[in-house]
């Protein structure tokens, strides 16, 4: 299979890239890892007139923690960089659990977290993780930079709020208000398949009290789902069997699964409950939360 013809530009600066987007016509796509875009073009689901390949733009292949504790992930930071990151293993249990579960090792060598957020696939894992963590996307365009909370960034399946001349240059996870725990669990039929169900849980505790919680769901709706009521059920009190059970039930209620070849709606909804309980039952134990669901 071949992609349709397109004009290809590989700028060496962000300003040049934004200029190309601004002047480039009606249908221009930014290429970072290309692990979703290239397959879509080969299947002719996407036929951009121009591709702006940002792989030669310096200064985007980073992930780092700032002194205030916020985590910044550049547009060319690959899934594999995050999978092997000691920074994430030490400070970001939900992200560290998710990174090895993205696609397969070969795709992880190319694909990027920021690209995954922009692609806004309802079955994309990172959108749930960043949503659960209360993160945002920083977009840069001719009018400057703006930070867009993820809750308002993804507007539907494969849809985001970027203007045609904006590039998502980084994702930001805000500093924790307490000690982080949580995880990501994904049910998949085999390695590399899209999620049948994915659940991201991020909890921040001060003493015994949960000061912030986020729960988000992958693959059980037309878009990434933020289970805000479920998260609210955890906040302001210690984690107990009762609060965990309540959050698990509310998360399942927030899911909008459809029966398909990956499983029945009932089964998927049940798995949301199971995963919330499993993650919260063993928070911050990385080994348990990265366990691959069969």
């Amino acid at each position: 299979m071949y992609p349709p013809r397109f004009r290809y530009e590989a700028p060496h600066s962000l300003d040049e890239a934004i200029g190309l987007l601004h002047d480039g016509g009606d249908y221009v796509k930014v290429l970072a890892g290309g692990q979703s875009l290239v397959p879509l073009m080969k299947l002719r689901f996407a036929s951009p007139e121009m591709i702006v390949d940002i792989n030669n733009v310096p200064g985007l292949a980073y992930h780092r923690a700032d002194p205030d504790g916020s985590l910044h992930i550049g547009a060319l930071c690959r899934h594999a960089d995050l999978e092997h990151s000691d920074l994430l293993k030490g400070t970001q249990p939900t992200m560290a659990a998710a990174a090895p579960l993205i696609a397969d090792p070969l795709v992880r060598n190319r694909g990027t977290l920021v690209g995954s957020l922009c692609h806004a696939d309802p079955q994309g894992d990172w959108a749930s993780v960043v949503l659960a963590l209360g993160g945002s996307v920083v977009a840069q365009g001719p009018r400057g930079k703006r930070a867009i909370p993820l809750a308002g960034f993804v507007t539907g399946p494969f849809q985001n709020v970027l203007e045609p001349d904006e590039i998502a240059i980084e994702a930001v996870v805000p500093p924790a208000k307490g000690a982080r725990s949580g995880g990501y669990l994904k049910l998949e039929r085999r390695v590399g398949d899209f999620a049948t169900v994915g659940v991201a849980v991020a909890v921040e505790t001060s003493g015994d009290t949960v000061v912030r919680a986020g729960i988000a769901l992958t693959g059980v709706g037309a878009s990434t789902i933020g289970a805000t009521e479920a998260a609210a059920a955890l906040a302001g009190k210690p984690l107990t069997a009762e609060s965990i059970a309540q959050a698990a039930d509310l998360a399942a209620a927030a899911a909008q699964p459809k029966t398909d070849h990956r499983g029945s709606a009932e089964y998927k909804r049940h798995m949301v409950t199971v995963f919330v309980k499993r993650i919260l039952g063993s928070p911050s134990t990385g080994a348990a939360t990265t366990e691959r669901a069969a």
Binding site: Y8, L106, V107, N109, G192
Partner: protein, 174 residues
């Protein structure tokens, strides 16, 4: 290198954007004039004429087209050929020396790591990327590293044994 396109008429032909790229494949320097939509797998197979890189599913699933770009294992059906401008590509043909097999190839022979052989080049390159990074992998490490490569003969047991055999031989040689 020559790549032949369908003749869509003079007007269409003049509109085909062509870019010149320079890259190296298995240590040999190359220059290619290509359409940006050419996929790396096709540059390798049809442009350079190295057919060891297989095209299996063509949908980023199977890993038969795995090659190394600057040492990293990637699926060449899912990368544009223009993106290897200035980079080093390694295919299965680049593994062996003049007269002897690479230890990974020896391992596949010794441990019967292939049946039909279609997935084998991709398996070997994914294995090479692993062993370059981690010379002493566990069985779990090997299975994890090969999890993006499918074997439709389902011969995974012997593939894993082959890679572990190669790891041991490479360590002994080091």
């Amino acid at each position: 290198m020559t790549i032949v396109y369908d003749d869509l008429g003079d007007e269409a032909a003049s509109e085909i954007p062509v870019r010149k790229i320079r890259f190296s494949i298995n240590g040999q320097k190359k220059v290619a004039e290509i359409e940006p939509r050419l996929l790396l797998a096709d540059l390798i197979r049809r442009g350079v004429g190295l057919t060891g890189t297989h095209r299996g599913c063509d949908t980023t699933n199977c890993g038969a087209c795995t090659v190394l770009v600057d040492g990293q294992a990637i699926k060449s059906c899912t990368m544009l050929a223009v993106q290897v401008d200035g980079r080093e590509v390694t295919t299965v043909e680049g593994l062996a020396g003049q007269s002897e097999l690479h230890p990974i190839q020896e391992g596949f022979r010794e441990e019967h790591g292939l049946q039909c052989g279609f997935c084998t080049p991709g398996m070997m390159l994914a294995a090479k990327a692993l062993l370059d990074r981690n010379p002493d992998p566990t069985e779990e490490d090997v299975r994890w590293a090969l999890s993006g490569n499918l074997c439709r003969c389902t011969g995974y047991q012997n593939i894993v044994k082959s890679v572990l055999w190669a790891a041991e031989k490479l360590r002994a040689e080091a």
